[in-house]
Amino acid sequence: MSALTFTLKIRPDQRVDMSPLVCQLLQDKDPSDIAAIELQSGKRKLRVDELFNVSGSDTQNIIIKNSFGKLDFIGKELDGGSITVEGDAGAYLAMGMKSGEIKISGNAGLYAGCEMKKGYLEIAGDTGDFLGGALPGNKMGMKGGLILVKGNAGERVGDHLRRGTILIEGNAGDYCGSRMTAGTIAVMGQTGRYLGYAMRRGTLLLWNPPVLSPSFNDCGTHTLAFLPMLFKAFATLNSKFADSAAAFNRVQRYAGDMAEMGRGEVLVKI
């Protein structure tokens, strides 16, 4: 059985809500039913076959080709199966994902992986603000799973992060790890201003020294035995994080945000 493939024919002017096209909702559907699904685009509804050429039949293995930055909510609440995006994705990629795997070859927009529960999200390009964050007003961001970004991430990475891991090979914007409750964010590149703003607990793991707020306390240098174990967990990833040369166990440790609980930590490679 070949993967169910949606190849974008036209680029609509308005954004498209792709949330109906996830594995668990398409299970047991005929190709004609799938072609007839209506997708909200601005104030109009468009049939799937107006936007896409549809081929293949394996609904648990979806490929979206020619994708571009106005296709929002790809893989929303995905519960098992895999989605591969060739091109860019719009906002809310993998929002609330429950399990399964989403990979994208291009860039993702705002709120990628927001409030994700479990599963694996891999973004080959860059990603917008609020990666793995919480929707406005909500108190909990990503609760589990793993996000890997090979490019750069925008601001507010892991806002209100509750659990799970975010790995960024490139740079992260301002307010990385803001309001984190727990969880882990690792950034190989540079980080912006207000790192860990109002974080309560959790770990920020950095390869480069950050600009830290005065509300973080220097706790000295440490050799941490858990770090080799953490890196070992990344060994199977298709990523620089899997490279044993990237691993380290000697860090400068900072605790904060002292304006909040202060039980979070920023670990910087030395």
Binding site: L135, G137, N138
Partner: protein, 551 residues
């Protein structure tokens, strides 16, 4: 256009009609006597249907800044309940604190044709009227909030005479385009700003040296003397505090026979008995209400689920912020005039306190004898969103349903309530009194809340159904001012209601002292503070109805 509603079973307590088959004629928006020969342009066959006047919610938070704070605080409340536009209705959203348009549609779809905002802050009254001006179909009005305002407290400290206070109260009602006076935690909102975290009925404000009892007395006297029909609308001291039943009983005694409306009394009816030091005071409160004919109450029933509490009582909201669910809240001062607290709540049937609150509200409904003096409210959105009313009506009208629900709540709470032993079931006539005729009488609405000739044609038609929840959540027809606006529980046409007000007289010299005060202390000038009729009517859809004064 002449409309005839034929053969419906009419419940019109205002005219003493309880379930008689009658024809109703509508002409020019009002109910008229049967015309001698004219043939109706449109006739509705209502045989077997229940006909009541449009329901009136006499206490519902539908306008004013706190609503917008709640909306801003809870975007998820809106995200989870989107409402698409139709060719008749505008789009909107919201469950606990819906958008203005959705508020109007949802009320109308339950057969309501009027709602009254109980906490119109004088300094924010303009915004509240503008917001209510965006609520379609419903008539609206507001009770203007006094009692924690700096100016009144200064007057009391300076021992100004009752006449001066009457002038200030009447001037405020006119300036804010209100229909009554509301007091929230009398003096307590102000005392909070002087770092007092509780204020009992006879406790003095540490700065002004004024007690809540004095504030209630002068304001209740003022309301009576300037001739406003709606009695002083009181949100008492110690909201939500175990043992506050005694405060409420003292408040009833302390008012000395003056007319007084105690609002959301469920939150003020708590004892301190039992293992958890929290018990029902409903029986004692109901006894006091039954005995004191000057007292009217509305219940403020809680119903289980997610909602948000929005109140002017910043003192008590601050104390309750620990219970915020989800955990985010706002308490603020409003221009030294009053306060505001917004705390989201999720009432749970397996939580002892919430479960007992639920039972206390129902006990109150069932133990107060006179339906003309008790009103059906959830203090929307504080106890539950107004969309829960049909469910609440079923709880009141259906004993076995009530007992089934009772059996599901926290077991310790079941032991602490007498609810299971109360056999009373509300009749349709009693529901019509509580939600129509009684409410119109309480607020002092002329030509509303009744179905006799001369009344405005606000009419709701239901299909009789033993399941009262289904019956009341989906009326067959709703007419507003003679126009058909709802069919089968869906809005089919929309229009604009009026704003109900009163205009009590005052001595114009009252503005002299006020002008100096405004110039020195406040953010706006006296001239801008006063709302003109045109501000409500100039958009072509709002209108003002002035109701007569008493005596």
């Amino acid at each position: 256009m002449l409309i005839k509603l034929s053969g419906g079973t009419v419940y019109d307590p205002a005219a003493g009609i309880a379930g008689q088959q009658q024809d109703i004629y509508i002409g020019n928006g009002r109910i008229i006597n049967p015309p001698a020969d004219a043939k109706p342009d449109k006739e509705y066959d209502l045989k077997g249907k229940v006909v009541m006047s449009g329901a009136i919610d006499m206490h519902t938070h539908i306008g004013g800044g706190k609503g917008n704070i709640a909306r801003t605080l809870l975007p998820e409340d809106h995200r989870q309940d989107p409402v698409a536009s139709t060719h008749i209705c505008r789009s909107g959203c919201g469950h606990a604190m819906p958008s203005t348009f959705v508020t109007g549609y949802r009320y109308a779809e339950m057969g309501y044709t009027a709602g009254f905002e109980p906490a119109l802050l004088p300094i924010n009254a303009r915004q509240a009227h503008m917001e209510m001006g965006d609520i379609p179909i419903l008539d609206k009005g507001g009770y203007v909030m006094l009692g924690s305002d700096d100016y009144l407290l200064r007057m009391l400290t300076a021992k100004k005479d009752q006449k001066a206070i009457n002038d200030y109260v009447a001037w405020t009602i006119q300036s804010a385009k209100a229909i009554g006076i509301k007091v929230v935690n009398p003096g307590g909102i102000n005392a909070f700003k002087f770092n007092q975290r509780k204020l009992d009925l006879d406790e003095q404000n540490s700065h002004y040296g004024v007690s809540p009892r004095e504030i209630l007395q002068v304001l209740a006297t003022a309301v009576k003397e300037i001739g406003v029909s709606h009695p002083l609308h009181v949100h008492g001291c110690n909201l939500g505090v175990p043992g506050n039943m005694q405060t409420t009983l003292d408040t009833i005694q302390g008012i000395g026979g003056l007319p007084m409306h105690l609002t959301h009394i469920q939150f003020h009816s708590y004892g301190t008995e039992g293992d958890f030091k929290f018990s029902s005071g409903a029986a004692q409160i109901a006894e006091a209400v039954n005995k004191n004919k000057n007292i009217t109450i509305d219940v403020g029933q809680i119903l289980f689920g997610q909602t948000v509490t929005a109140s002017g009582d910043s003192m008590r909201q601050h104390a309750n912020h620990k219970h915020a669910s989800p955990n985010k809240w706002v308490t603020m001062d409003i221009e030294c005039d009053a306060g505001c607290g917004v705390v989201p709540f999720k009432y749970k049937d397996q939580n002892f306190v919430n479960a007992l609150q639920w039972a206390i509200g129902l006990e109150t409904f069932l133990l107060v004898d006179d339906p003309w003096r008790i009103f059906l409210t959830t203090d929307h959105p504080n106890g539950a969103p107004f969309t829960c009313y049909p469910h609440l009506i079923r709880l009141l009208m259906d004993k076995s349903f009530r007992n089934d629900m009772l059996a599901t709540i926290h077991p310790e709470a079941q032991k602490m309530t007498t609810l299971a032993s109360i056999d009373r079931e509300y009749s349709l006539q009693e529901i019509a009194i509580m939600t129509r005729a009684g409410a119109a009488k309480l607020i002092g609405l002329k030509d509303r809340g009744g179905l006799s000739a001369g009344n405005w044609a606000d009419i709701t038609v239901y299909t009789d159904n033993p399941n009262r929840e289904q019956m009341f959540e989906k009326p067959d027809y709703v007419f507003k001012d003679g126009e058909l606006v709802v069919v089968d529980g869906k809005v089919v046409a929309t229009k604009w209601g009026t704003t109900h007000t009163v205009k009590p007289d005052f001595d114009p010299s009252v503005e002299k002292g006020l002008k100096e005060y405004f110039d020195r202390y406040l953010t706006m000038k006296l001239g801008n503070f006063k709302i003109s009729d045109e501000e409500i009517t100039e958009d072509g859809r709002g209108s003002i109805t002035v109701h007569p004064l008493k005596g």
